[in-house]
């Protein structure tokens, strides 16, 4: 059965049609052409499909598209403002925290979820916050350092603004 969904995605009011069986991940990628959110496993075990739903970190492959009716969804495409990158995106580039990049969208969204609630994370808190995001290229070292750098930068700019 196909149904109509309206919700906010990356700040835009969006309407789309889905099959009731379709997951949010498939709807984002196939109906809305937002291919920044990636599929690595479709069983919630790799985190490559991570999005925020009403501020909460979720695997979009474990969410039926219809569940986000009226919700506020954030994907990697919504992280940057018009003309400048989010501090986490900037820190990932500066810190060489990505190689192939397939896990990067999910990691960026997970890092944002962490820093939204805790701007002074320890290394261990960062590691557990991104434990749901598998990366096979980097060994996580530079990813963790970049998230810590982003947190420091956001703390500094928070003080200024």
């Amino acid at each position: 059965m196909r149904s109509h969904v309206t919700c906010t995605i990356n700040g835009d009011e969006v309407e789309f049609l889905v099959d009731d069986r379709q997951t949010l991940l498939d709807a984002l990628r196939d109906e809305l052409q937002l291919t920044g959110t990636k599929e690595g496993c479709a069983t919630g075990d790799c985190g490559a499909c991570s999005v925020l739903i009403d501020g909460r970190l979720n695997c979009s492959c474990l969410v039926f598209a219809r569940e986000v009716e009226g919700a506020d969804v954030l994907t990697v495409e919504g992280l940057a403002d018009a003309d400048h990158l989010h501090p986490i995106q900037h820190a990932f580039l500066e810190g060489a925290a990505l190689q192939c990049g397939i896990c990067t969208p999910g990691l960026l969204v997970a890092a944002k979820a962490l820093l939204d609630r805790n701007l002074k994370p320890t290394e261990e808190e960062v590691r557990y916050a991104i434990a749901g995001n598998l990366c096979r290229c980097t060994g996580y070292d530079k990813v963790v350092r970049s998230i810590l750098d982003a947190a420091a930068e956001m703390r500094d700019s928070a003080v200024v603004s």
């Binding site: 059965m1 149904s3 009731d20 069986r21 997951t23 479709a42 069983t43 919630g44 075990d45 985190g47 991570s50 739903i53 909460r56 970190l57 979720n58 695997c59 492959c61 474990l62 969410v63 039926f64 219809r66 569940e67 009716e69 997970a110 979820a113 962490l114 557990y128 916050a129 434990a131 749901g132 995001n133």
Partner: protein, 286 residues
């Protein structure tokens, strides 16, 4: 397949009563991976997360009421629940990554009835109750009676769990939960062990219980723990005897996550450690 999202308990009950192939869900963190592995989705899926009562998490003098659809993350973030039931919150907080935590529900974790469910042992050791509802009304059962075996609950057709109830903890009583997994996160318990102990002013044990997970078709309440510990100060010999009781009580299987012998041995190791942790917490309380 049809997706429905009722906003009242009655509406949900009607949906289940009118369609035998309807199935409730909250986080779908077991449902969707199973569908991905080939299991056919039911014709009607009933999303419970829009029913306020099922998302409820509140406490009063009588005790705690936890909506069956409330996410593990909300439970873990509730500071009072964390202080009164640290073990239960530990168990719930171990159900998968942050992504899974924001969806997995207590109701889903228990009703999926996996022998390795992390919330099972803690809910049983804390003598929680499940409030079940259908068009015939509400009924309450001890949590231990909810799960019958792997993938099988005691729910009748048309029934679903609305909420869970927990008493307020007595003074100087505390629980704890530990599990063994190869990875530090994103893993399924090879063995889980929940303990609840109470102590007197001198730190001597006045009550103790251990419930194991992933070592039998359902959770296992280990017999003889209280007899071993009451009156003791959790000395090493007593804890060692409890470990032996736990290993004895297991009816584990060999599977891709562990061998029988390993599970039996780990059940003993975790029993000693979880009792010690619960005892420390109980005596710390004023």
């Amino acid at each position: 397949m049809m997706y429905t999202a009722p906003v009242t308990v009655d509406e949900a009950c009607q949906l289940l009563a009118s369609n035998s192939a309807a199935k409730v869900f909250a986080g779908a963190t077991d449902l969707l991976p199973q569908a991905q592995a080939g299991r056919r989705l039911e014709d009607v899926l009933v999303d419970l997360k829009r029913i306020p009562r099922l998302m409820n998490l509140e406490v009063d003098d009588q005790g705690w009421t936890i909506g069956a659809a409330a996410s593990a993350a909300r439970l873990a973030e509730h500071s009072q629940l964390r202080s009164e039931y640290p073990g239960l919150v530990e168990a719930v907080a171990l159900i998968g990554s942050d992504q899974i935590q924001n969806r997995a529900s207590l109701g889903g974790n228990l009703c999926n009835a996996s022998p390795a469910a992390d919330s099972g042992p803690s809910m049983v050791v804390n003598e929680a109750r499940a409030v079940i509802v259908s068009t015939a009304g509400f009924r309450t059962i001890p949590i231990a009676d909810l799960v019958r075996g792997p993938g099988e609950t005691s729910l009748e057709p048309g029934e679903f769990v609305a909420e869970f109830q927990l008493d307020r903890p007595a003074a100087r009583r505390a629980d704890a939960y530990l599990r063994f997994t190869p990875r530090t996160e994103m893993d399924i318990a090879v063995v889980g062990a929940a303990a609840r102990v109470a102590v007197d002013d001198a730190g001597r044990c006045t009550d103790a219980a251990v419930v194991l997970g992933a070592v039998a078709p359902t959770t296992v309440r280990v017999g003889g723990i209280a007899e071993e510990l009451v009156g003791s100060t959790f000395d090493e010999e007593a804890l060692a005897r409890c470990a032996a009781l736990s290993s004895e009580a297991c009816r584990p299987i060999d599977d891709k996550r562990g061998t029988k012998e390993f599970r039996r041995h780990i059940a003993g190791v975790l029993t000693t450690r979880v009792l010690r942790l619960a005892a420390e917490r109980a005596s710390e309380q004023r």
